[in-house]
Symmetry: C2
């Protein structure tokens, strides 16, 4: 395995692989690997010749008040984990390599980027689509892997790929969870012991809602109330949003009569966590 | 030569060519070919295995009040000309093929897109960069050819390619002119006889300015006044803008002490024409 720091070297490697007719898979990450990243790496490894994992804490997807500076980083540890996962290349550029002085080009999926997580984080998804477009252009992957945990991100990236005629196939892998159900996230590292326990309320609320729907309660208002009450019963938790939408396009739905995505964002202390579940009827 | 109408067929052709190790050149156009387009086609033909010319009057780069509907189109004529120019494929998609219902992704080069031609045409360059990004993603060209006549477009596309790590080399070909100096443009077709004569004032004003600079007049104010006076002496002409900027980044300059781009936009009757000249000191 090799860690590549510059775009020029990365392009050279990719172009050579392509000349040899090799298929390329990309797993774009912000590093600080957990089991969720590993599930993407394992899945990608099965179906490509050259596996590239990018590690880049992308400043343009953090709003100014957010945790860009303190976002956890540990490249040495990630390299050890990636090597064990049979990754061929880590692409870990510095910020100045990705955003040179005077950088000014952005890719935005309008509409979808302003709902749910985009409502209180107006620049977030523009940053995501911009950096993912850059990585796709540079690495020209045949396939790229994302986790279902970031449900809105997945929908937005698929929309970008389709709208902009990008020649990459997007694979979405299931959310990986701790034993008690908490969705794996690098931001879980921010939680203290008490908060860590409280954080299980996200998945418990989602499961309760799923259960209610399957048992026959199809009123949006009722389901939303159930989720709200359960989260509010946890004193360290504060709801950012609860949405029940069409999983394909994130559109609000009038009633629950086909598969729905229930997506929530909840503050646990000073840490904002997200989780979601798709309920197939 | 073959005319391709769908993105799927175009991608299939490109992927097969790439598998065979062939190089691809793209000349993106809005059709209604004139000698300017042909100069791009000839230049591109020399240096690639597969030459693709796209013909697409792109609605997103026209502001609502503009001439999208009446922009001249003649695919049959363009096909004959392209065949003579040894073009391999014309890509001529319908609007619905490029912008499906619910289309919502845009690429924008901020800053540069709002000056000069972008000042009075706020959505124009966003439309250009979006459609060019789509064509680059779909056709994956090694090289793409643009005309210097659209000086601002050239700077913006180069910036997009660099910022977004696109793996395409941009070639810029000199402006092609009629015998009397008028820059070739599909929009020249809008001019009546009297307007056609008046339109020569653009290039005459640029040449006068160049001449003054070379003779030693380096005061921006003076040069601008010369150009303004000459254009205003033509009664059918109305100035949209006159700018003297750094040709690399379109930044305003304080004085003329290195190569400058003089770019102008002038209404001749109801037709807006642009032209430019680079003066190397």
């Amino acid at each position: 395995m090799k860690t590549v720091k510059t775009a020029a070297e990365m392009r050279g490697i990719v172009r050579e692989a392509k000349r040899d007719g090799k298929s390329i898979a990309l797993v774009p990450t912000m590093g600080y690997f957990h089991e969720g990243h590993l599930s993407l790496i394992r899945e990608a490894r099965k179906k490509c010749d050259v596996l590239i994992v990018s590690i880049f804490v992308n400043p343009t997807q953090f709003d100014p008040s957010e945790d860009y500076e303190r976002y956890p980083r540990d490249l040495n540890r990630d390299e050890v984990i990636a090597e064990r996962g049979k990754v061929d290349f880590i692409f870990a550029p510095d910020v100045s390599e990705m955003y040179s002085s005077g950088y000014s080009t952005f890719v935005e999926v309008e509409g979808l980027s302003k709902v749910m997580c985009g409502k209180n984080r107006p620049a977030h998804f523009r940053g995501v689509t911009t950096v993912v477009a850059k990585l796709f252009n540079l690495i020209e992957p045949d396939t790229a892997y994302f986790g279902q945990k970031d449900a809105q991100q997945v929908v937005i990236i698929k929309k970008m790929v389709s709208d902009l005629n990008m020649g990459v196939e997007i694979h979405v892998c299931p959310t990986v969870r701790e034993k008690d159900g908490l969705a794996m996230s690098s931001r879980n590292a921010y939680l203290n012991e008490e908060e860590r326990k409280a954080a299980t309320v996200l998945y418990r609320a989602l499961l309760k809602a799923k259960d209610e729907i399957i048992r026959g309660d199809k009123l949006l208002k009722f389901i939303r109330k159930e989720i709200t009450e359960m989260i509010e019963s946890e004193k360290l938790a504060r709801i950012d949003y609860i949405t029940i939408v069409d999983p394909e396009n994130l559109q609000e739905i009038a009633g629950i009569d086909k598969p729905v995505l229930i997506a929530i964002a909840v503050w646990i202390g000073k840490t904002r966590l997200i989780d979601n579940i798709i309920v197939n009827l």
